[in-house]
Assembly symmetry: C2
DNA sequence: GCAAAGCCATAGAAGCACTCTATGACGTGA
DNA sequence: TCACGTCATAGAGTGCTTCTATGGCTTTGC
């Protein structure tokens, strides 16, 4: 769903949180590089927007009201997410210039990397990371040719000449909307899954191939598609708002499952697990920055 | 730290995610209630801002590029946080009008309630919740006088005439910046903690009183303050950027500890735990909406 | 007490950015 | 081949936010 048009600006929330942390509007204005009247007016506008007083202004600074304390706490959550996005974007834009070049598969880049990068950028503010996103074979190519220092992949591959470390786990899971019949028993036989049309990525996607292979192991045929979509986000949206199941990476729907927007269905006998691993050229010394990043991850 | 001035607008990210989910700029524009050219221009502006193409435009719609897929995934995280903030704000603003009136203590309201409310508002879009934030005694008062339907508190109190259910746990923990000497051994004797000036809330705060009581149990005196601040956010910011410890609710620093901005220090023998509980008038039938909310929480 | 310094609010002008409507170009599907 | 969908461009208008300059107010230090 779309956010209401009256939703406060991210910049205003950021400014307000700074006021609460620093204790005065002036200092927050300085920290954000805007004039004090501008900051004052933006806070006032925020208060009008929310329909509540957020600050008790005094001659020696401003303290948050009770409501202000709570709103500031809520705002910090969203600002943290914003910083993770920012860390990811910086790495993405750094393209060539980065000191440490990493290549990651889609799933890892989308759901795990931002936190790692955000933490790393705070611990090493002077070092930039360059991020590229690619499929597993490209990741391995890059490492072999020395055009990347560290890779992250999610498929068990031939890794001759590469060292590796496991950094997490992933699994393909079956999910449905809470209103779907499968959501109540929360379990369904694998035959029923194979016989049901699914929302899927187009043929050629890795997860679709993995599902087909797992069904073949059960002596079952190709899964059929009720809808073929071009991106994981589109698949997820279609399952949330529609009434067809899909089989998808658990990392991709972890937040929706936690929020109750999707329900994970148990399919006895069907288990499509994969370990997420960091890989790098064997023999050569891993750059110290790469070591630091791997240490942070653990 | 402040977000860069060039950080993309929340509305633009929201719009872009809708494009990826819906498959075309026009449909996303309609979903957001703006004209198609406006949406097109905003997406283009976003692309210029990030310095990368996000969409492959075609005559039958727009599909995200590889970079677009990743950025959309990152953006969804921040939008999820925004929706939680929105859910909290709605409840806060609902003041009188809500169908279900809940009263919560600060810690629960700040760190747990938004997720619950966001989920609830999706499951029950037609029912509004009115939220008030207050200290424990006020929460109990409201319930006894029938001016609230459901309360959440974090202190063990006299609960005559009230039913309760445990919904979580909290604990006061000692935290320092990663550069602080205590961060390396990660443990410190309780005597050293009592002898060290701390960053603290002003006298009168509940957490400060709880710490003083726990130290008294060890035969130690009042903790001294190197800095007294007016809000939990200010305390947290001072500890992150300074070099003094504090003792604070684990919920309030869970995110910073996970991100490596703060380090939790073990203090053998010092344990200040408290259960988080939902409370409501005994005997009377709990409103069905309250039951639904409690079910969601579990 | 008194002056200085800090804080916040107001006013007015300038500039920027965004929106909308109208239109055109392009490819798809019937 | 025609109709419909997609997205892009152009131009006008509006609204908003910013800045500088100023004033009132309280705390702090002498």
């Amino acid at each position: 769903m779309a956010l209401p048009a009256s939703f406060p600006e991210l910049a205003s929330l950021d400014l307000f949180v700074s006021v609460v942390e620093l204790g005065s509007v002036s200092q927050a204005a300085a920290a954000h590089g805007v004039s004090q009247p501008s900051a004052s007016s933006r806070i006032k506008h925020l208060e009008r927007q929310l329909g509540m007083r957020l600050l008790n202004r005094g001659p020696s600074g401003s303290l948050p009201t009770d409501a202000g304390v709570v709103v500031a706490g809520w705002a910090e959550t969203i600002l943290r997410a914003a910083h993770e996005l920012e860390a990811g974007l910086s790495a993405f834009q750094a393209a060539q210039a980065g000191r440490l070049r990493i290549v990651a598969s889609f799933t890892i880049a989308e759901y795990l990397l931002p936190q790692w990068l955000d933490r790393f950028s705070r611990d090493h503010p002077r070092d930039s990371i360059a991020l590229e996103v690619a499929n597993s074979t490209t990741v391995i190519d890059r490492l072999r040719h020395g055009t990347a220092d560290l890779g992250f992949i999610e498929t068990p591959s031939e890794l001759d000449g590469l060292d590796e470390a496991i950094v997490g786990n992933d699994e393909l899971v079956t999910v449905v909307a809470p209103s779907h019949p499968w959501a109540t028993p929360r379990t369904v036989p694998v035959e029923a899954l194979a016989a049901t049309p699914l929302v899927m990525r187009e043929a050629g996607s890795g997860t679709r191939a993995a599902l087909a292979a797992a069904l073949r192991d059960h002596g079952l045929g190709e899964p059929s598609a009720v809808l073929e979509l071009g991106s994981t986000s589109a698949v997820r949206a279609a399952v949330v708002h529609g009434n067809s199941p899909t089989v998808i990476s658990r990392l991709a729907v972890a937040a929706e499952v936690a929020a109750g927007q999707l329900v994970e269905v148990n399919v006895p006998g069907l288990s499509i697990a994969r370990e997420l691993r960091a890989v790098w050229p064997a023999g050569t010394a891993l750059p110290s920055l790469a070591c630091a990043l791997l240490d942070d991850i653990r």
